[in-house]
């Protein structure tokens, strides 16, 4: 690696060194308490998947270039030069970590491995060694924000085609719009994913609850966050923030997508609107008796997978359980509890990388499959697109014999007048 490239990469590294990051890089005592925390280590047993080991890959570079020790006595901390090989190690560490932050619950200091991995991801972008497809997807999202006019017509046509199916789930009075778009002054802006499954059930429930809502032009998913590019993450986020401000909505409701929800909730900053997840909104409708559910629709034991970014990392834990309590008498919790829930193994961009990561995703999430099987459930509900895809893959691979369902679809299917 030439000096110029290295300097550029080290500048990127420096840009990440805020107070919290310095805490995390200075403190690890390598006590090994996090050993059992990572689902990849628990499933595959390789030392390089222990949280502290991953973090140490980044920390060794920090010790080399950002501590005086790196010059005088590098060997004491096994400080390491930034080379092509180091970049490969960074890739291995960052793209085998799903950012679930389960290890943070184990660490006596609370070191955030996901945050340390964000340095690795940024350096990979700088070295042009990141998974290209994630950057391309992020660019597409950014582009869509810049030139909405080009996409608008196609989008509206697509939405029109879904209306019939929405009405099939919930009949409306004559003249009412099944999927309102671009409605200024609506109470709630719903940000969905690109896909009918993310729009139809949600729309039916909004209509059933007589919500004054409007659908966002943009998809919720933030590929900038997956690839670890802070500026793209912000640009993708800002599209939605600007739309919400333009339409003067009171609430922005994020569909079943863990990363989108956490990014929007925690990164949007102080705004004139609230950010809520669709699960919270559904629980609210039920509590306020705005919708009613038929609890005889589901047969068999139901369990719920807490998406890491929605539950452990953003605090939506009671709401899905409240909803499931209205849907079935046969709910069974997974063990361990939501705070300690095993990651599905699909986060951090791994599911978005599709077939490329399938083999690793299956091997690294054996422990998740065991956890689901132990419940004896036949229906596995979840509230995140990535989790849903990964759990469906696991279901096929490990013959878990469950139906993997979106919580919102279960609510929509059980709606009664």
């Amino acid at each position: 690696m030439d000096q110029k490239t290295r300097d550029d990469l080290l500048n990127l590294f420096q840009s990440k060194l805020n107070e919290a990051m310095r805490f995390y890089l200075e403190t690890c005592t390598r006590c090994g308490v996090c050993t059992e925390a990572c689902h990849v280590y628990a499933s595959m047993g390789q030392v390089r998947y222990i949280a502290a080991y991953r973090a140490e890959i980044v920390r060794r570079l920090y010790k080399k270039y950002f501590k005086a020790r790196g010059k005088f006595w590098p060997s004491v901390g096994e400080a390491k030069e930034l080379t092509e090989m180091a970049v490969e190690e960074l890739f291995d560490a960052a793209y085998s970590c799903t950012g679930c932050r389960r290890c943070m619950v184990y660490c006596p200091f609370g070191i955030d491995t996901q945050m340390i991995m964000s340095i690795a991801k940024l350096l990979l972008i700088g070295a042009k060694a990141e998974p290209e497809i994630l950057s391309m997807l992020a660019d597409t999202s950014v582009e869509k924000g810049k030139s909405m006019a080009l996409f608008k017509e196609g989008f509206l046509e697509g939405i029109k085609r879904l209306e019939e199916e929405v009405v099939a789930k919930w009949k409306l009075k004559a003249g009412e719009t099944p999927i309102p778009v671009d409605k200024e002054g609506a109470d709630l802006l719903y940000v969905a994913l690109a896909g009918a499954h993310s729009i139809i059930p949600a729309a039916a429930i909004f209509n059933a609850a007589s919500e004054d809502w409007t659908l966002s032009f943009f998809e919720a998913v933030n590929f900038g966050a997956f690839v670890g590019d802070p500026s793209k993450t912000k640009l993708i986020l800002d599209r939605i923030v600007n739309e919400a401000k333009r339409l003067k909505v009171k609430e922005v409701c994020i569909c079943e997508c863990g990363t989108a929800y956490r990014v929007m909730k925690q990164l949007a900053g102080k705004q004139p609107f609230n950010v809520v997840s669709i699960t919270e909104v559904h629980a609210r409708y039920l509590r306020e008796n705005r919708i009613k559910l038929d609890r005889t629709k589901l047969n068999g034991v139901v369990t719920y997978h807490d998406p890491c970014q929605i539950a452990r990392n953003a605090g939506v834990m009671d709401e899905p359980r409240y909803i499931l309590g209205q849907l079935t008498d046969n709910f069974r919790e997974m063990t361990p509890d939501p705070k300690y829930n095993w990651c599905c193994g699909g986060g951090g961009g791994l599911v978005a990388l599709g077939e490329e990561t399938l083999d690793f995703r299956m091997k690294s999430a054996r422990i998740k499959a065991d956890q689901v099987k132990d419940t004896g459930a036949t229906i596995l509900a979840t509230a995140c697109e990535n989790c849903h895809t990964q759990l469906s893959n696991l279901n096929d691979h490990y013959k878990m014999n469950v139906q993997v369902k979106f919580l919102s679809s279960m609510v929509a299917d059980a709606l009664v007048r």
């Binding site: 990051m21 310095r22 403190t27 901390g77 943070m104 200091f109 609370g110």
Partner: protein, 236 residues
């Protein structure tokens, strides 16, 4: 030899404390002056009185208790022992009424605190010889533990000699004379400290302690200052 002993017991102590205080201050200022993280780093479920919980997490290591109870026992013994020894060393300078609330001869614990600490340190060291902790450890981790073990073993031997074997040549009053003279910047080495049979223990104890103090600000030992703010971040 006398010059070497003098160097270790006087100038090196000053150097070590200077490096420790200035080094720690400079490093902490640098860390705390960095910009704050823009978003929350909290883990849920949420808790009330976050500061109290952060203190609980910092001083009682609940996550270690849950996931590695044996390590937790040794960690608690080690850290409590460390606190008692720090109190003991303060009492070597002068009497503190506060510490005598539980009346005791100097160095609480009748010599057992040092023994427990030495055992805990050996446990910490030997557990690093075995995978997976072995694969995670770097030389710094071993050096620190070996250094601490040497400090504790030579320091404790002096205590044990007095208490358990009625060795009376080096008394508390001698240490006090030496330490107070250092504090008042008028260094003076009583003969009992430098020329009796057990002086080498003091010299080695102080030597290794000096090394430790000088390494402290630049090592993972800085966790003693960062653990609380980090645990606060996790609690939100």
């Amino acid at each position: 030899m006398d010059t070497l002993i003098y160097f270790i017991l006087v100038p090196m102590v000053y150097i070590a404390f200077a490096v420790f205080f200035i080094g720690t201050a400079v490093r902490l200022i640098k860390i705390f002056k960095a910009p704050k993280h823009p978003t929350t780093l909290q883990i849920f479920p949420d808790s009330n009185s976050k500061w109290l919980w952060a203190l609980h997490d910092t001083f009682l290591f609940p996550t270690v208790r849950r996931h590695n109870p044996v390590l937790w026992i040794f960690l608690m013994l080690f850290h409590i022992g460390l606190l008692l020894l720090i109190i003991g060393h303060l009492e070597l300078f002068a009497e503190f009424k506060l510490f005598q609330l539980i009346p005791h001869e100097i160095f609480l614990g009748q010599g057992y605190v040092g023994l427990i600490l030495a055992i805990a340190l050996l446990y910490f060291l030997f557990r690093r010889f075995k995978s997976p902790v072995r694969d995670l450890s770097v030389p710094e981790d071993y050096y620190l533990l070996i250094l601490l073990f040497l400090i504790v073993i030579f320091g404790s031997e002096m205590d044990w000699a007095r208490r358990w074997y009625a060795y009376e040549e080096m008394a508390v009053s001698d240490y006090r004379e030496y330490l107070m003279s250092l504090l008042q910047l008028k260094p003076y080495l009583p003969e009992t400290v430098t020329d009796t049979g057990h002086s080498f223990m003091l010299v080695l104890h102080v030597f290794f302690a000096n090394l430790f103090l000088m390494f402290f600000p630049f090592s993972q030992s800085i966790h003693s200052f960062l653990s609380l703010p980090m645990n606060k971040l996790r609690r939100g």
